[in-house]
Symmetry: C2
Subunit: 453 residues, 2 copies
């Protein structure tokens, strides 16, 4: 009983992204200008993004066409495979059927190129010469570096300092595509210098790195900012994952009862979940959606759904999202891509609508799950993806207890080839779990801005 692969032909690759906003029972809360407290306009975003990405950010259109050139590049590795994990099912001795969509086949090794390619494309046709971004684990930075190489754009990456030091090879990977990588907080920006003055040994965080990147991006017209998660247009681009998975499960003659993904900023989870969610919204299907996050950065499970800044230096607009407070700096655990104080506002909105449940796990359990998966399925997951693996395994074990043959789908968003230090540390017993007390969480949340809305 080996693992089965479900492959779509290139002709079956999606030609449209799916915008869930068209189908939600209530609109998203507006994004607010921090000075005025009033909703921002598309014009306010122009220093950061090209027009077409801003249009996608605010669009209510259900299907948005994927440009030909983006499709042409997607085809280098898409459609990605969907697998029925029969060896894992056997190892767990579960009556559940476990499917996983594998995004690690992209040249950068994760789902991130799904949005890096269109972002670089829209910037290129808008005449932009240079993209500034931040990266946590380095998956996003690698993907934008790749996209920059394809479109002839200069790429500068502010890499969260703990990851910069934990993962020199990830940095080298970005540099091999021609990008410049800077450890954040850095001395190159006002935001970075302020943090370093207060906390000279700061590990950095995605919130700080975003501040640095935004500060540099607004300084000249040919430079723009690119974000690897959180924003509506990023979640939109990732829906190719779920659209393909739908078609592949149809090939398999199956449909998921449970969909699992890991959440940091929320984009890979949204990518696999949203295209299935419309059936739940219409009442056609009863699907349980499980967002899995690290216990060491429990945004959905312990954060507050309220207005907050997307970054530490408060250069971004205010968005309504689940947040631990923009001053919250999670400890340096080994899933850098999940170390974000906030959450994609669109995903938070969907959580608030009661469509998704969230769960938090410590990293030790996640690494154990990752090794179980690797030995059964042959693919060593990224530490971020291990959260989804752990979530899926737990659902499969619950099925075993209950004797229920449910169908579980999860997103294996990337491979762990650049995360071997983490696996070495885990196998050597050097990793610890971090959990925050309610006092610590309350203290972090105390710094939230006061917004009447």
């Amino acid at each position: 009983m080996d693992t089965i692969k479900y492959t779509l032909t290139e002709d079956q690759m999606p030609e449209f992204w799916y915008n869930i906003q068209a189908d939600l029972p209530a609109p998203m809360p507006p994004v607010l200008h921090p000075g005025t407290g009033q909703p921002i306009t598309p014009k306010d975003l122009e220093p950061l993004f090209p027009t077409q990405l801003i249009e996608q950010e605010v669009s209510q259109q259900r299907w948005i066409e994927i440009p030909d050139q983006v499709q042409s590049i997607y085809r280098q590795w898409r459609p990605t495979p969907l697998y029925r994990a029969r060896r894992l099912e056997k190892a767990l001795d579960t009556p559940a059927k476990i499917y996983y969509k594998y995004e690690g086949v992209s040249p950068a090794g994760s789902h991130k190129p799904n949005t890096a390619i269109p972002q670089a494309y829209y910037n290129k046709i808008a005449g932009v010469k240079r993209l500034i971004t931040e990266t946590g684990a380095g998956q996003w930075g690698s993907s934008l570096s790749l996209a920059g190489a394809f479109f002839g754009l200069e790429v500068v990456v502010y890499m969260v300092k703990v990851s910069y030091h934990q993962k020199p090879y990830r940095r080298a990977f970005m540099e091999s595509y021609g990008a410049r990588v800077i450890a954040s907080p850095s001395n190159e920006t006002e935001a970075g210098r302020n943090i370093l003055k207060q906390y000279p040994d700061s590990n950095g965080s995605l919130g700080i790195a975003i501040s640095e990147a935004v500060e540099v991006a607004v300084q000249d017209e040919q430079t723009k900012y690119a974000l690897g998660s959180v924003l509506n247009h990023v979640l939109l681009h990732q829906t190719v994952i779920g659209i393909e998975a739908l078609a592949q499960l149809e090939m398999a003659g199956d449909y998921p009862d449970i969909i699992v993904g890991c959440t940091g900023g929320g984009s890979n989870f949204a990518g696999i979940a949203f295209p299935f969610m419309s059936a739940k919204l219409k009442g056609d299907r009863d699907i349980k959606f499980v967002a899995v996050e690290p216990a060491a950065c429990p945004t959905l499970t312990k954060g507050k759904y309220t207005y907050d800044f997307g970054d530490t230096a408060h250069l971004t607009p205010l968005v309504k999202m689940h947040t631990l407070g923009s001053s919250f700096v999670p400890q340096g655990f080994h899933a850098g891509g999940l170390r974000y104080h906030g959450m994609a506002p669109l995903l938070s909105h969907v959580v608030d609508l009661g469509l998704i449940s969230a769960k938090a796990y410590g990293q030790l359990d996640c690494f154990a799950a990752g090794l179980t998966f690797a030995r059964a399925e042959g693919i060593l997951p990224a530490p971020e993806a291990n959260h989804a693996v752990k979530g899926a395994i737990d659902e499969a074990l619950r099925c075993k207890e209950e004797g229920a043959s449910k169908t579980i789908l999860f997103n294996l968003c990337g491979h762990g080839h650049f995360d071997m230090q983490a696996y070495m540390d885990y196998q050597a017993g050097l990793l610890r779990d971090t959990e925050y007390s309610s006092d610590e969480i309350a203290m972090a949340l105390a710094g939230l801005p006061v917004i009447s809305q």
Copy 2:
């Protein structure tokens, strides 16, 4: 003009391996017993390999069926994509068409699982419990570890010491599949201890590691030896690469004028080349085959075609091959998979028949070629694969000089995600080229055994 992918359906995956021995104008020279100087019999190989692999080793049958379970596992990542490298063609401004077959999509990141899976399968059905092997760069060790995990076999890997230290993450990767990894030369074997007595600081070599693995493998019946290259059955298993490439080029309406691959032990080169060679042997096609090796281990370009041992401690039979002498220990350059003193006897025989030309490059030129490729095509090659990339780029540039629109096919045998230290060293200007003088080569060759045949 983006890169084009040619994908076969799973139904088009080969069901047979191709054995070029059936089509060669002259048989291979026999393998000799070092004690008697007489040809060995299949029985002599039984302490090392299960019967079905020995049968494949000596088979003259043209097509050998791939067992169902091996096909079933191959399908997890096969058929692998063939790409037309249009972005690279544009970057080089060449009239040549460049195609590459990409084997890095396997879970272990290289072509090596093509043989690791059937080797583990045949051992499993023969009742073997434990496989011993050696590895240079770690690609083979990773692949056998993966195959061991799939078939429930214990795997022990003797890893060449220089790679063991250069690539701790490759070691961790093997360990994540459950394998035990030992730096070679080690104190665990007679062969290892003898080397360490003479050269306490030995970097190791594939020849030494083979000695250690063979010594351990013959000690009990439930333990066998597995080799990742060199042997006929290994080359046989790799022919899935070329068989698929043939079908994919047919889809593209094209046929190669030039086929390029890198050579260490010879298996990935044979894998892509042999299925095309029968057309050349029949006189139907005029194809130029180029085997690219490192200048720092110039087996085909500076070695001698003669009988030699496959290992340093002289535990293997004598085989006729291109060799630098079994005592030759190449310096620790960054393409560990190509650091072998000898060559697959079958490939050497084909070279001796005049069917292949060989070329050697220094590692600096190869890394430069790899970065050019990564920025154009998005895939960062393994240092071994960079030799093939360099060879293909040189052929494409020659086409440009000559204004010839030839079709070039090369094998991109693996990705470089575990080789980032090498890229960092290269980018930091820390790497040097090694070339051996004719005196040094002559000295190494002086140690060859004297065989009348």
